[in-house]
Structures are given as C-alpha cells and as structure tokens.
Homo-oligomer: 198 residues x 2
Amino acid sequence: MSPDVTRQSTLATGPDPLSLSEEEDGQAESGPAPEGVTNDLVELLFFAYRDFVGDPDRMLAEYGFGRAHHRVLHFVYHYPGLTIAELLDILRITKQSLNRVLKDLIEQGHIVQKTGRSDRRQRLLYCSETGATLTAELTRVQVRRVARAIADPVADEPTGARDGNGFAAAQGFLMAMIEPEERAAVTSLMARRARSRR
Amino acid sequence: MSPDVTRQSTLATGPDPLSLSEEEDGQAESGPAPEGVTNDLVELLFFAYRDFVGDPDRMLAEYGFGRAHHRVLHFVYHYPGLTIAELLDILRITKQSLNRVLKDLIEQGHIVQKTGRSDRRQRLLYCSETGATLTAELTRVQVRRVARAIADPVADEPTGARDGNGFAAAQGFLMAMIEPEERAAVTSLMARRARSRR
DNA sequence: CAATATACGTCAGTGTTGTTGACATATCTC
DNA sequence: GAGATATGTCAACAACACTGACGTATATTG
C-alpha cells in the first residue's frame, strides 16, 4: 500500500511521480488525454506484445527455433521472393544475425533460395512446403488472437474514463490481446496505480 | 513481383498462402474479418512495437543500460514499493535475470531497496531521485508517442476496407505508432502482399 | 520451540540473438 | 576493366534470457 512509504529524502516514492503532467495532448480536440490512461496504454502494449509473441515462441521452441526464426519465416512466408537486403531492412538486424537463423531454416529445409532472374546476385527467399505449413500454423494463432481482440474488445471499467476518442478503443483492444487468465492481474496492477494517484 | 515465381514443386510460393482461409471471426456480428487486414495488424504490431521501444532503447544506451533495465525502472517508478516477487511476476523472468539488471540499477543509485515493514523478508523497491528523473524522461517519450497515435491515427487507404468495426481504428493507431519516416516503407510492403493476393 | 516454508541473493554454466570488424566471392554497372 | 553492389563467412563480444544448486534471513505452523 502507498501509506507504507515513509517519505525519505532521497526517495522519489510519490504516487506515480510526474507521469504526464499535462503532457502535450497533440491537438486532441475532444479534451486532453487523462494522464493515467496513456500510462496504462504503455503498459498494456508491453503485456499485449508479450502474450502476442508468447504462443509462437512456445510452438517454435519445439522445433528448436526462436523468435528470430519466427520473424524470418513470417516475412518470407507472407512476402515470397523477398531478397536478403529487403529482409534486412524489414528486420533491422545485421546480415550476420540474419544469416545465422537463415542458415538454420535453410538447412532444415523450411526456406529455399532462388537466384534472382534479373539480378543473379540476389537470393530470393521462399518457404518450402514444410516451412509454409509451419508458418501458417504460427500465423493462425496470431491472427486468431488479433481477430478476437478486434471482435471482442474488453470493456474498460478501471479507468472509468468514457472518452469518445480512441483511448477506450485502444485500451479494449490491447487488453483483449492479453491472455484472458492474466487480465485480472493486469487490471488489478493498474488499479493500484490509479489508487495511489488519488 | 509475383509472376517471378516459377511454381516449382517443393516451393510454396503462392500469394500469401493459406493465411486465414475464412478464419474464425469470433462472433463478429458486423461481417467476417477480411483476411488480409488481420495479417496487416500482425505486422503492424511488430513494427509499432519496434519503434515504441526504440526511443527508450537509444536513450538508455547512453547510460549503458538496456531494455531490461528500462522495464525494471518503468515498473518500479510507476508502482513504488513493488516487491521482488511482484516484479518477477510482472516481467516473467527468472530472479537471476532480474538480479543482474537490478544490481546495476541499485549500484548506480537509480533504485533503492527498503526492508518491508510487515514482512521483513521483502525488499520494497523505489526509484531514487535520479532514477525517477531518468524514468520520467523515458516515460515522456513513450507516452507522447501513444498519445499522438490516439489523437492522430493514420487514415487507411491501402486496404480500402471500410469496416465499421475496430479494424480500421486499430490499423490507424498502430500505423501512427510507427516512426513517420518509416510508414511509407511499411505501407508499400503491405501493399505488395495485397497486390499478390489479387 | 523446532520444523518447514517463503523471500531473496548468488555462483556457475549455457543458449539465443543481437553487435562490430574484417574479408571473400559473385555479379552488375559504367 | 574498375568499382559498386549483394551476399556469405569467420571471429569476438555483449545483452539478456535460462537452468541448477546453494545460502541466508524471516515468517508460519504444528
């Protein structure tokens, strides 16, 4: 509880210090963003992304692959014929990093290279049958999560703020992206901040 | 371009194969989700999150800290008095992993520990003045990005799909979370998939 | 009070994924 | 043919996660 804090000199223990302090609300014509809500969105994005990549992570682990492999598979699957340079630009990693995981995927036959037609220096990347099957499975669970979050956003009571703008929508979407069993924990955590702000 | 594909036997190079194939649209009463749009959201989430953590990453790098330090600072800052166990549950990492970064932050005086009052085994975590100042700065840029994305979502033309549900809203929000200079690249990438799907 | 459980810290080893720097090879462009 | 470009590779290193094992302080319980 927040009264446990003894206001020691060097400690900045105040209820969610500074936070936003009438942060620039970028021309939001329907009133300024309530300070706490945006903080919630920042954290919801963290939790949502964690669960979003959690499913694929677990599935890939069974193949001995990691998240880096997933990203390569994903973009090669969805954009067949991608070149190395394009993939590097998408992933924003070094070619050495890419090559390590790409080599795994090629050796295991999930991705194949084809020499470019117009430019024979290029190695166009494609998924093999097995790579496509695997990636389709990964995509399926991620698409399902997103589609459900869009279709059934979680109604927000904690903040209570009924803002016609996108705050409530974004919050509902992100909360719905979180694993259902974990939503209560997230909600009660954020309620703790809201409480200490009173 | 997709006609570059020569339909080799072992290659699954079709235009965005399987993808969704009338994926379960979980009781979406306003029509099923167009297959491509949800795929876009999956990728937008990747790009949005990348830029979302990019700013703090760069700022922390100057202090010799990384993303793990940021996460600890963030939650200790926003939830002063957090215990180790609570933090572990939030971050979902092992105590060894936490301890490594936490030790850095404590040694450098950004975080302080206080023995719990009711339970003297607990180490309650608080930000020091410097830790609070640093974290407030990190929070500021993240909150600004989110607040702007909510206030000025990016209108979607690429998909053209005008769906009253949350798809357009989510897409606009996530696209607005992406660094402005990079949006064109993302849009043209996803247009490439849409093109190959015709 | 003694036994057990809990909260936390730490040592040691390992794996994934990122980095930098240097260098090689094939191919395209001028 | 010279130089730029696309890709591959070797080596070293760092951040951040993991497992397993063990130690200490404090709380709880029979």
